[in-house]
């Protein structure tokens, strides 16, 4: 009962959190490039403007698919906070991302299609990590829901150092930051125009944007999960991780997809796999 309210709260508050985070991100990025940057609330203005614009759909399927993308992103967070099994949450998270790939693939444009292919690659690169992360958390705490992990009396994070480091690498993909922003780009000059969002406009692009806000909030919740005993510490840890992402985003060029796939899989396999394996070996 209580947990359902948390889920509902997430659906309402996560976009505010994600949008504000995007606003801070844009200010900080601008300052790193010695620019002033847009107002803090610019992401909200942008989405507001997008919603007012006329929407052109290349393929009528794209609309429902993108709506599905937003709904499943929101659902991922709601289920997580609502007390569903963590492994199940990781699968819903992947499903939500898959809707975006399908929507982009449905547009009959080469840029969009190649972007969708690349998104599929980064999805392949990042999904094993989330499953391993959930497995690691469940293994350490012995429980399998968000609320139970938070109620677990010991810190989870110290036993998952490999997963913490891998989190930083995979978050670069999920937050669409350079060097791993191969499927879309927050910065428009790239080989795929805007990758998988090339053929989305108006309302549809607003959906993608809002879904991304949910995505940031979910990643934040995952961080809180790792720092289970105190959510303020989890928030601070997420803030530090995000700041690092922004710094790396402004200090590297975009990598090619082979490097993305290789480095994320290597990180997942060595750091996460090693971490989880060690838990089983040392554990009992």
């Amino acid at each position: 009962m209580n947990t359902a309210i948390y889920g509902l709260l997430f659906v309402v508050l996560a976009p505010l959190f994600g949008g504000l985070l995007a606003g801070v991100d844009r200010r900080v990025s601008a300052r790193m490039q010695s620019r002033i940057g847009p107002p803090l609330l610019q992401p909200f203005y942008d989405v507001g403007k997008l919603l007012q614009k006329k929407t052109r759909q290349v393929n009528p399927v794209a609309g429902p698919l993108l709506l599905g993308h937003v709904i499943f992103m929101a659902a991922t967070g709601a289920l997580l906070l609502g007390g569903t099994d963590l492994i199940f949450v990781a699968f819903v998270f992947a499903l939500a991302a898959l809707f975006l790939v399908l929507a982009a693939g449905s547009a009959n444009s080469p840029y969009s299609f190649t972007g969708a292919e690349r998104e599929l690659i980064v999805l392949l690169a990042s999904e094993p990590f989330f499953i391993l992360m959930m497995a690691g958390v469940c293994k350490v705490s012995g429980v399998s829901t968000f609320g139970d992990v938070l109620a677990y009396p010991q810190w989870v994070a110290p036993q998952l150092p490999g997963i913490l480091i891998a989190f930083l690498i995979v978050a670069t993909i999920k937050l669409r930051k350079s060097p791993f922003d191969i499927s879309t780009s927050h910065h428009p000059h790239q080989e795929l125009v805007s990758g998988l969002t090339t053929d989305m406009s108006g309302r549809l692009l607003a959906y993608v944007e809002v879904a991304h806000w949910y995505e940031s909030a979910i990643l934040c919740a995952f961080m809180v999960l790792l720092f289970n005993r105190s959510w303020p510490i989890g928030l601070v840890a997420f803030g530090v991780a995000y700041a690092l992402e922004v710094l790396v985003d402004n200090s590297t060029s975009r990598a090619k997809w082979q490097l993305v796939l290789r480095s994320t899989w290597a990180a997942t396999l060595v750091l996460c796999g090693g971490n989880v394996l060690a838990l089983f070996v040392i554990g009992r």
Binding site: A30, M32, S34
Partner: protein
């Protein structure tokens, strides 16, 4: 050679974070023009003798002069501010201001005039050359 662990831009990014940004808050903060900048052609109708030299030499065909109708006009959107008309004008009626034109939208055109179009008439031979009240002149704008 590139060491995979050094990211030289990290230090720059961090330093920029505390340094003053290089951008200016245009349009609230406008940098004054440099003295010799070529901004916009100014026309003094009182001294013009309609010799048409500026029209003949204008490479962009932006200036139109009609001796019969006593009209001197310029399309600012065609003008390339090359300064040739100013150089050839024997009466010194033309000058180059270092202030660029203000941005205009189609709504800024006055009385059916296109934006960027300026026209001066000498209504009757005896008048000393007040700008035509209909025309969009610098005076009318101000």
């Amino acid at each position: 050679m590139a060491n995979p662990l050094t990211l030289p831009m990290v230090r720059r990014s961090l330093r920029n974070l505390v340094a003053r940004p290089a951008t200016r808050k245009y349009p609230y903060e406008i940098r004054p023009s440099f003295g010799g900048a070529r901004g916009k052609i100014e026309f003094d109708v009182t001294t013009c003798n309609y010799c048409m030299l500026c029209m003949r030499r204008c490479p962009a065909e932006a200036i139109r002069v009609s001796r019969e109708d006593r009209i001197w006009s310029i399309e600012h959107l065609r003008c390339i501010a090359c300064n040739v008309c100013v150089e050839v004008c024997s009466k010194k009626s033309l000058s180059m201001s270092n202030q660029p034109r203000k941005p205009q939208t189609p709504a800024d055109g006055v009385d059916g005039q296109r934006p960027g179009h300026e026209e001066w008439h000498l209504a009757a031979p005896d008048t000393t050359g007040a700008p035509c009240p209909d025309a969009e002149t610098p005076a009318a704008k101000a």
